[in-house]
Symmetry: C2
C-alpha cells in the first residue's frame, strides 16, 4: 500500500470549477428532521446520517476555569439529550473522584432516559490507554443503556518522542492492549483516537488503526489536536484512512478538530464531505486554547447545506443529523453561564450580535425580506427576537406570584423542581422589591443562574454594606452565615470596594484562594438593569484547599479552577454572591474528595493493605510508569 | 461559455487523497518575511504574493456599538501600517461628516507615511455605486500616495429584487457607470464588489465583472455577504471567475467572507488556494452579525502553511504576505479596547486562553517541548508570556517617575506624545497612591486606554462618593466640571449604585442617552487588580443627541452607538469614567456634525441656493431615487 505525499491540489481546483451554488437561499425557519437511524456501535444503517458527539463535558470542561459541579454537568447532559446529540462524552472518570461521580450519575440517569422515539444518548467516558483508566471509565459508564469507552494514545512523532518517550512499536502495542482490555470488560462500543493525528505519519496511522479494529474498536476518531490542518488537508487524511485502513467497513470514522487557526468547523465539515460520520464538537466551541469545533456551527451548516454540498463520501451525500436546533440557544446560554466561558458578540450563530442588525430608522430591507441578510432565522435556533421587535415582552413585578414566575420560566426553557423554584422566587422577591420597573426575561434567567450557584451552598451572605468613592478609603462590612448556622461579621478596607468585600469574605471563611478572573455585565439594556458578576478562583497551590485532578493530555495533576456567578441590581451584592458561589463550589469539590479519601482509607484498612483500583484513582500517574 | 452547476465533488475527493502532511511541526517563533513586491493597482509582480486588505475601520466599525472616534481610527490605522497591511479600508466617507473626516485624515497622514523600505499602505474608501458616494470617497482618499475607491452593488437575485428593485441589466449599467465615473475623477485604483456574490448566479457575475474590467476596475472582490458558502464551494466560485472573466489577467481577485457559519477564515483560504491574491479581513474578526474573516487567523495560517498547502492557483503556490505578526497582539488589544468588541477566551490566536495551558503542578511536557501542543509561539504574535513564567515582570509604584512610565509604555508598544504621557502619568499617580502593590503592565495599559477616552474630553468627573449594600438605598454624589469650567454636583439614589451614579451624571449633563451594554472586568489576577469598565450608549432616537449615519448595506440612516471605557481600582470610579467617556464621544461626534451643517448652510447661502454635493452628504438616499 502506497500513500503519495505529493500535492494533488490540481484535482481540488478541478473539483471547485463546478461546485453547486444555490441561487436563492431562504432562511431556515424550522429544520425538518428525518427519523434517527437505530444505534449500532460500529455501523450506521443510513450512510447519510452524521452522528454528533458532544464533548462539552470533557474537552470543553478542560478549559481553564471551566470546572463544573456534578449537578451542573447533569443539567447540561439533560439539555444535550433534549438537543438530541448521539453521544455525550461525560468526562474523564479517572481524573478525580468528582469526575468519576459526575460521569456515573449521567450514565445512570441520562443514559437511561429513553424518549418516546426510543432515543437515548450513548454515554462515553474518556480514558488513556492504561488498564486502570479503562476500568475506571467502564465502571462509570456501564450503567448506561449504551455505554462507550473512548481510549487514546498519541501517534505523532513529536508526541511519541517528547511526551510518551515510546517507539512506534510500543505505541501500537499499548493501543492494541487497551482496546483488548476494554473488550474484555464487556464493552462492545469502543472508540479509539490516535492523538495528534493531524501531525502523524499517515502510514503509521493506517497501521495502528488497522490493528485496533482487529481487537474490536468500533469508532476511529481522528483528532487534529493542535489545529494544524487546512480543510483540504484534513479531508484528505480522512479519505486516505477510510479507503486504506483494513476493516474500515466495520467502523465509523470520526473527526475531532481543534481551533488554533480558526478552522475547526471547516475541518470537521471537510471530514464529513470525505466520509466521516461522527463529528466531535462542543457547545460554543469551548475547549483548551482556541477550543474545539462548535456544535452549533457544524449542525447548522449541515442543516442548511448538507443536502447539496457533501457528495464526497458513501451514500447519496445528502447528509443530515438528528439535532433539534431549537435547543441550540438555551444550551449555549446554559453552558456559557455554568462554565463562565462567555461567547464574543460576533460568535457565529450564538453570539449576541449574530442576529442583530445595526438598527435603522427604517429597517425596510430587513422587514420586507429577512433573507436579504439572514440565512437562518433566530427562531430556528430557539432565540426569540427581542421584545422591542416582537412586542411580546413580559415584565414581572413584585406582585407577581410563584406560579407566574414558574410558568414564565417554563416558557423560557427552565423546568425547575419545587425547591429550586422556591429559592429563585425568594431571590425574585428581594430583587423586585428594589427594582420598580419589574424584571424582564433576561433578568429572570440571571436569577435562575444566580440561584444555581447557591444550591447546597455552604456559606451564605446575609448582610453587606459598602462605602467608596474617589476620595476616602473603600470600606465594606460583610455578614455571613456558615454551615454551622453561626452568623459572623467583619469590616475591612481595601484598594477598591470589591477588594474590601472579598477580603472580608476571606477573613470570615478562612480560605486560601486566589482570584483569577473577575467580570461583570448588565443582563439587559438600561441603567436600572441587573448585573451578573462572574469570577474564577483557584486554590493556592499546596494550600489547604488544593483541588488536584489529572489532565487527560499531559497526564499531570493540575489544580482545578472554579467559577461562580451572582446577580443583583446592586453590583457589590452580585460581586459578593459570585465570589461566595465559587468558594462554595471549591469547598463541595474538596468535601467529596475528602469523603472519597476517607472511604478509601477505610477500605484500605479493611482489605489489610490491599490497594484497590479505586483508591489510586486520585493519584497521579506518569506516562512512563504505566503501560 | 458554459458553466456546469452539477456537482463535481468526486474530484475534490481525489484531490484529498494525497494532500501533503508535514510530519513534524515546529512552532513558529519568528516569521521570515520576504520583500514586499512593488505596488501596482491591477497586478502583483510576484504571483505568490497575497495582499492583506484590512477593513476593521469600515466593516468592523459597522458592528453594533463599535463606533470609533476619528482619533481612535487614526491610531488604529497607524498600527495597521506597523503590522504591514497592504490596503486599509478607512471608512465609508458618505456615511456622515465624521466618517469623511476620519478617512481624509488617514489618507492625508498614514497614506503618506512612507517607511524606509518604500512601503506605505493603500488607503481605500467605500462607496455605493452612485456618483455622489464615489465623489465623496475620492475627496476623502485622494490625498494618499496610493488612493483606492471601492464601489459595490448587489448581484444576487434576492438582493436585486428585494433591496434594489432593479433588473440585472440595470444593475450592470449602474456598476459600469460607477467604475467609469470613478475613473473620470482621476482614480486608477478601483475595486468593484458584487455584493452577495456567494448567492449570485455565476453567469451573471461573469457578465458584470467582465463589464467593469473594461471600464478600468483593477481589483474584483468576491463577497460571501451572508456567510453562505462551504469552503470548496467558495473556492470553486473564485476558480470559475478567475478562469472565465474576460480580462481576468488585468485584475487582482479578492475574497470577502462573512462568518455566519464560522467558515470565514476557511473560505478566504480556499479563495487563496484558488488564486485570489487579496484577502479582506478585520482584526479579531469583528463585523456585523458573526463578523468577518480574522486577519490574525488568515495571516498565521499562511505563515505556517502557505509554503506547502496552497498549490492551486497561479505561481509556485508558495504563498506569503508582508504582515509582521509581532504586531498582531498589540493591534488586537487596541481594536478590542477601542471598539468595545471583546474576544472570547477561546478566540483563535488572540483569545486570552489561546496560549494558556491548564497549569499543572509539573508542566514538564510543555516546558520540555513547547511544540507538543503549540504550533506557534505566543512571542511570534507579539504576546509575551505571563510574568509568573518568565519572571520578567516589572511593577511600577507611586515613586516611579514620568520617564520610567514612558519607557515601560514604549517597551509595551505605546508610543505616546508628551501631552498624552502627561495625562497618563497623572492618572498613574492617582491610582498608584491607592494601590500599594504597585501597577503591573496590564494595569498600565488600562490607564493608557482610560486616558485615550478622555482626550479632548468635554466633561470631567472631579468627585464621587457612593454608599450601597444589601439593605438601605444606594446613594451617589457626583461632582463634574464642564467645558465652561463650572463645577456642578448632585446627589441621587438608584436601584443600584451604578444606576445612582449614571442618573447623577445624566442630571448634570442633561443628555438624552440610553445605556445599551455595561461590562466590567479585572485587568489582571488578584483581588487588588484594577478594573476596566466598558459601556455602550445610544442617543435616544429623534432626541437632541441623535447621531445618524448611513448604513452601507441598507442605505438607511442608522443611529450611531458609542462605547467608552474607564479604569480604576474603584469600580464605581471606573464605571463613572466609562459612561462619561462614551458621552464625550457622542458629544464630539455631534459637535462635528453641527459644525458641518452650519458650514454647509453658510456655503448654501453664499451659493444662493446651489446645493453642493457635500451639503447633501449627510442626507439619506433611497436606492431607487439615485442610479
Amino acid at each position: 500500500m502506497k500513500i503519495s505525499t505529493s500535492c494533488a491540489l490540481a484535482a481540488f481546483l478541478a473539483a471547485c470549477s463546478s461546485a453547486p451554488t444555490a441561487l436563492y437561499a431562504t432562511p431556515v425557519d424550522t429544520v425538518v428532521r428525518k427519523p434517527r437511524p437505530r444505534y449500532i456501535p460500529g455501523e450506521i444503517p443510513d450512510p447519510d446520517y452524521v452522528r454528533i458527539f458532544d464533548t462539552t463535558l470533557r474537552d470543553g470542561e478542560q478549559s481553564p476555569g471551566a470546572t463544573l459541579t456534578s449537578q451542573e454537568k447533569l443539567e447540561i447532559a439533560r439539555m444535550l439529550a433534549k438537543l438530541g446529540v448521539d453521544i455525550i462524552e461525560a468526562g474523564f472518570p479517572i481524573a478525580s473522584p468528582d469526575d468519576f461521580a459526575a460521569v456515573k450519575q449521567i450514565g445512570d440517569l441520562v443514559g437511561n432516559e429513553v424518549d418516546d422515539d426510543g432515543y437515548v444518548p450513548v454515554i462515553c467516558g474518556l480514558s488513556r490507554a492504561f488498564p486502570k483508566d479503562i476500568e475506571r471509565a467502564w465502571d462509570a459508564v456501564k450503567g448506561a443503556k449504551y455505554p462507550r469507552i473512548h481510549t487514546f494514545i498519541a501517534t505523532s512523532p513529536i508526541h511519541m518522542e517528547t511526551k510518551l518517550m515510546k517507539t512506534p512499536d510500543e505505541v501500537v502495542e499499548i493501543a492494541v492492549n487497551a482496546v483488548k482490555f476494554a473488550k474484555s470488560l464487556g464493552c462492545n462500543d469502543i472508540e479509539f483516537s490516535p492523538e495528534d493525528a493531524g501531525r502523524s505519519d499517515p502510514e503509521f496511522l493506517l497501521r495502528i488503526l488497522s490493528a485496533v479494529i482487529k481487537e474490536g474498536a468500533t469508532t476511529l476518531n481522528i483528532p487534529d489536536t493542535t489545529g494544524w490542518n487546512m480543510p483540504w488537508e484534513f479531508g484528505g487524511l480522512i479519505k486516505t484512512l477510510r479507503e486504506n485502513v483494513e476493516g474500515a467497513d466495520k467502523v465509523v470514522f470520526s473527526t475531532h478538530c481543534q481551533n488554533d487557526l480558526g478552522l475547526a468547523t471547516a475541518n470537521s465539515l471537510a471530514g464529513a464531505l470525505n466520509g466521516a460520520r461522527q463529528l466531535e464538537c462542543t457547545i460554543n466551541g469551548i475547549g483548551e486554547r482556541a477550543g474545539n469545533a462548535s456544535l452549533e456551527e457544524i449542525v447548522m451548516a449541515l442543516a442548511l447545506k448538507g443536502d447539496s454540498n457533501f457528495q464526497g463520501g458513501p451514500g447519496t451525500g445528502r447528509l443530515y443529523t438528528s439535532i433539534n436546533p431549537v435547543y441550540i440557544s438555551p444550551t449555549s446560554k446554559m453552558v456559557s453561564e455554568y462554565t463562565g466561558m462567555i461567547c464574543q458578540p460576533h460568535k457565529a450563530i450564538v453570539g449576541a450580535n449574530a442576529f442583530k442588525h445595526e438598527s435603522g430608522i427604517h429597517q425596510d430591507g430587513m422587514i420586507k425580506n429577512k433573507s436579504t441578510y439572514e440565512i437562518m432565522t433566530p427562531e430556528s435556533i430557539g432565540l426569540m427576537r427581542g421584545d422591542s421587535q416582537s412586542g411580546a415582552g413580559i415584565v414581572l413585578g413584585k406582585h407577581s406570584g410563584r406560579n407566574a414566575i414558574g410558568t414564565r420560566l417554563k416558557e423560557l426553557g427552565y423546568d425547575l423542581d419545587q425547591d429550586k423554584l422556591n429559592a429563585v422566587f425568594d431571590r425574585f422577591k428581594q430583587v423586585a422589591e428594589k427594582k420598580k420597573g419589574g424584571l424582564e426575561d433576561e433578568e429572570l434567567e440571571a436569577l435562575v443562574l444566580d440561584q444555581a450557584g447557591m444550591t447546597n451552598s455552604l456559606w451564605k451572605i446575609t448582610g453587606l454594606q459598602v462605602s467608596t468613592g474617589m476620595s476616602g478609603i473603600p470600606t465594606a462590612t460583610v455578614k455571613m452565615i456558615g454551615p454551622d448556622m453561626v452568623e459572623r461579621y467583619v469590616a475591612t478596607t481595601g484598594t477598591g470596594p470589591v477588594d474590601a468585600v472579598y477580603k472580608a469574605i476571606d477573613l470570615i471563611l478562612g480560605v486560601s484562594v486566589e482570584l483569577e478572573t473577575y467580570q461583570m455585565s448588565a443582563v439587559n439594556e438600561g441603567i436600572e438593569a441587573m448585573a451578573v458578576t462572574r469570577v474564577t478562583i483557584s486554590p493556592k497551590e499546596g494550600g489547604p484547599n488544593d483541588a488536584p485532578s489529572i489532565n487527560a493530555q499531559s497526564g499531570e495533576f493540575t489544580n482545578r479552577k472554579f467559577s461562580g456567578s451572582g446577580s443583583d441590581t446592586d453590583i457589590m451584592t452580585s460581586s459578593a454572591r459570585a465570589y461566595v458561589s465559587a468558594i462554595n463550589k471549591l469547598l463541595s469539590w474538596n468535601a467529596r474528595r475528602s469523603q472519597k479519601l476517607a472511604a478509601d482509607q477505610t477500605k484500605l484498612d479493611a482489605d489489610e493493605g490491599k490497594i484497590t483500583s479505586e483508591s489510586v484513582a486520585a493519584e497521579p500517574m506518569s506516562v512512563t510508569e504505566i503501560a
